[in-house]
């Protein structure tokens, strides 16, 4: 598939989830149970991006020794929990990562 087709399909599926929200889905279609489960979607899916990006290196190998990303991510997480700020989380993570690779 060409890059353009890929972009179009990803755009289409993103649009359709939004459109179905306001055009097709009615309040009574979701009971409390389904809503409760759906509220866990971010917690269920984002770690699948986060963890491999931290623990698996460019060669596809598991890397736990000498990996500054682990400590930087932990610092970012702690800052995030206390500040509840998206920006503070991202920048504290990047700053500690740069500190670890360039200074330490």
């Amino acid at each position: 598939m060409s890059n353009w087709a890929l972009i179009l399909y990803c755009g289409l599926i993103t649009y359709l989830t939004r459109f179905s929200m306001i055009a097709l889905i009615k309040k009574e279609m979701f009971n409390d149970r389904i809503r409760e489960i759906l509220s866990f979607v971010p917690s269920a899916i984002f770690p699948a991006i986060i963890f491999p990006a931290i623990f698996i290196n460019d060669k596809g190998l598991f890397e736990i020794d000498d990996n500054p990303k682990i400590l930087a991510a932990i610092i970012a997480m702690v800052i995030g929990i206390f500040s509840r700020s998206i920006i503070a989380t991202i920048f504290s993570g990047l700053a500690s990562y740069w500190f670890l690779i360039f200074v330490v």
């Binding site: 306001i22 279609m29 759906l38 866990f40 700020s85």
Partner: protein
């Protein structure tokens, strides 16, 4: 009743504080897309056509890992499934609108605009209240397109040594900050992360995102059932 323009303006003002984190998100996206090998025009088209931060970053992450198109598209779909949750809430406010407005508003219905307009829609019953949502969505659109553009320009100037790809897990980590305070969410996060990491090389077609997400949701299902019985 306020004029359409005033409601639109109110949407812009209300959404503005939520735009601050969108700026680095858009920049990171632009820089990374160029870094991975997309052309500037393709990168700009992604922001224009998809117009969804999480969707676009997932696309980049899986594309650079060599995932197949089918896996990338279904993973983007899975990431977007969180939007279905909003449906029940927002559809009741917009049910009287003409189809054409539903088609237009759908394009602008992103997390930030939803978050602020949901409050407004609950309090206001004016017929033109949906202009608030359009105002918030349009603001986010302008910020997202301009930061993508800036990222494309900066991308050529930023050295690879900076390891900016690390900003991807950080951005998603940032989206979970409120969930780290809840025990069930933390367990779901750990299960999903472990399945994705351990399955990264073994789950075929790089479908590890979907498998991990299902494992996480299944865990949530079990834990919330138990919770109720207690």
């Amino acid at each position: 009743m306020k004029s359409n323009f005033k409601v639109f303006l109110k949407g812009i003002i209300d959404v503005s504080p939520l735009m601050i984190p969108v700026v680095p998100f858009g920049l990171i996206f632009g820089v990374l897309a160029i870094d991975i090998g997309f052309t500037p025009i393709e990168t700009m088209a992604m922001s224009l056509i998809i117009f969804g931060g999480a969707s676009q970053i997932v696309l980049l992450q899986l594309f650079s890992g060599g995932a197949s198109s089918l896996v990338i598209i279904s993973s983007v779909g899975a990431v977007n499934s969180r939007h279905l949750l909003y449906g029940a809430v927002v559809s009741e406010h917009l049910s009287d609108l003409k189809l054409i407005w539903k088609i237009i508003i759908s394009y602008f219905l992103i997390d930030q605009a939803f978050a602020i307009s949901n409050e407004y829609l609950k309090k206001n019953k004016d017929n033109n209240r949906y202009f608030h949502l359009v105002g918030g969505g349009a603001t986010c659109w302008v910020i997202w397109q301009s930061t993508t553009f800036l990222g494309i320009i900066l991308g050529a100037a930023i050295p690879e040594k900076l390891g900016l790809s690390f900003a991807v897990p950080l951005t998603f980590l940032a989206l979970l900050v409120n969930d780290f305070r809840k025990l069930i969410n933390v367990i779901v996060i750990i299960i999903s992360g472990l399945v994705a990491t351990l399955g990264y090389n073994y789950i075929p077609f790089k479908a590890y995102v979907i498998v991990a997400a299902l494992a996480g949701l299944f865990t949530a299902m079990i834990l919330t059932t138990k919770n109720k019985k207690v």
